[in-house]
Amino acid sequence: MRVTWRYWITVGLMVVLAVWAFVVESTTLLIGVAGIGAWLLTLQYRFVRATQATVAALTVEQQVDRTRVTATETTLGSLVVRTVQPSQVEVSVSGSPPVESDAPIPCCRLQTGETIATVSFELTWPVAGTFEFDQPTVTFSDQRGLFQQDLDSGSMPAMTVEPRAPRNIHVGEGGERVAAGFGEHDTGQTGAGLTPAEVRKYVPGDTIQQIDWKATARLNEPHIREFEAETDLETILFVDQRAAMSTGRDGETKLDFARQLALAFVENAQELGDPLGCYTIGDEGITNAFEPRTANQHYRTITQCLRSLETTEFSSCAPSTAALDPGQARRTAEALEEDDSFSTRLRPFFDATEQYVRRIADQPLFGAVRTATTRRDGSIRMIIITDDDNQTELREAVKVARGGDGQVLVFLTPSSLYEPGTLDDLEDAYRRYTEFESFRRDLTSLTRVSAFEVGPSDRLATILAAGSKRRQQRSRL
């Protein structure tokens, strides 16, 4: 219970009377002190009784019209305060929408004698994620404003805010849709497990526990039953969130597609119980790093992180991406055989292998992949989700990622499928798409590397149809 300034003023009045009683030496004034004291105590006791009765009959409900929305959407919320009997005290209820929602804190007042009060409010959800309302704070006040009591009471609805997600996702190779690496993984190995693989003859070295006694009795010689080995596939996701990933229409940017794909991998890993790590890469480097783990909370944290992922700001001091391939530099330098002044002047510019390594090492994606791979060895599946803007960096990152005997999946969002106005010039769009396809095939040709395109299926179909038409026209000529 809290007392207000009015209570203290009343107590002050009692003190004044008591002091004055001492000054004038009068017992009568002390009787006045007793009267005010009795008045305060009576009202305090009445407040205690009324609050207890009201709390017993009170229901506070925080409600939202939907519990699942898309980011930036607006929902309606309401705060309902209800009592079975007319309230004997003033009840003020402050709702507590999550801080992530862009909403004022609503306040609902139930006056003395009322049985129900409702306040409705609008909530805008700019950030994706799962948020829970706090319990509303109920404040009881007596009619004279002498006493107050706070109490947390009421329902706490949860709100899931989905990021604005594209609906027509195409994942494939050369325009052909393929199934991504979802589901269980065949290791091709036998060992401890539950699924029978094969029955084979006993060979020295096999343990007695491995003998299948039924098969041995049936075939008259010792046989072993082997099972499919069950292992966890450690996966690390690299999700690019650099400024270039913001290309595309509102709600259909490269990052929107990349995010949806990454979320699908997280969901799949959670279903199979695979250890999952995740790195998000911004223009300045790694923005989030999660080491591979299997705890449910870990999957939820990664999901939350991916849902709230936004592109980072491009920094002008970020290193240049135009690095020269060392092989090409070497070939060009060799071509400058003549010792004329022109060749002498140009040669240092092509002698750039060391500079190439330094410049690539400064690239955020490459740096993130290298950081992840240096910390672990063995069979790891690396999934890189990025665009095709920094091809040299990506190629080198993929080479580093497939170190050991791990598998690398690269999902690329081709700029030609996202840039606005691309479809105005279909011929140019098709040309750029074929360049991308060439790069994708180049990546796929690397050992243990698979590269896929990710983009809006309708735009891709339009570009491919234009390409097909062009080929037909050429064949007629």
């Binding site: 609050t51 004022p104 009322e114 009591q149 109490l151």
Partner: protein, 190 residues
């Protein structure tokens, strides 16, 4: 803006989002509302008027016209302030009018002054148990103070009276959170 509508079954208070003021407006209206709420209600009632008439009679019989003059001040304060202010002023006036008079002589005037507080208590909720509780509490504290003043001195009497009040008020202050099951929160916040 909050609108309240009364229906046969229930009394309701409804506020829609379109009626909600903007943040700036709500801040301004919050200030206005706070000023309105913070103004201390005088809780005047017909029972208070009856008590004032009783005070007029007792003060007139005690000091004649001076008593009436003091009574006029009480009436003015009764219109402006809550009941405790005219009550306190009445006691100060009583001591000023009859400084050497015994308690038994001023008893009618004191009872009529206490009637002012009683009228304040029953102005909103005419509960007989509250009237009995107030009367009993006032008599008990007054008796203890009077007895303390008799056997000791005024300082002891005032200390005992205030101490009794503080003890009872603190007990009620702790009792409510305890019955609501939020004692831990109180402990951690204090």
């Amino acid at each position: 803006m909050t609108t309240a509508t009364n229906t046969p079954g229930e009394k309701t208070s409804v506020q829609s989002p379109t009626e909600q003021p903007s943040q700036n407006e709500s801040e301004q209206s919050g200030v206005i509302q706070r000023r309105f709420v913070d103004r201390w209600d005088t809780n005047r009632s017909w029972a208070g008027g009856v008590a004032l008439l009783a005070i007029l009679g007792t003060f007139w019989s005690l000091s004649g016209l001076v008593g009436v003059a003091v009574w006029l001040i009480l009436v003015a304060s009764w219109f402006i302030f809550p009941a405790i202010v005219p009550f306190a002023l009445g006691y100060l006036g009583l001591v000023a009018m009859a400084p050497e008079t015994s308690l038994t002589v001023t008893l009618p005037a004191q009872v009529s002054l206490v009637g002012l507080l009683l009228a304040s208590i029953v102005s909103q909720d005419r509960s007989l148990s509250d009237i009995a509780r107030f009367t009993a509490t006032a008599i008990i504290i007054a008796a203890i103070i009077h007895w303390s003043a008799k056997i000791a001195n005024l300082i002891i009497a005032a200390t005992v009276g205030m101490g009794l009040f503080c003890l009872a008020s603190y007990f009620l202050h702790r009792y409510l959170p305890l019955t609501l099951g939020i004692v831990d929160d109180i402990d951690s916040s204090e």
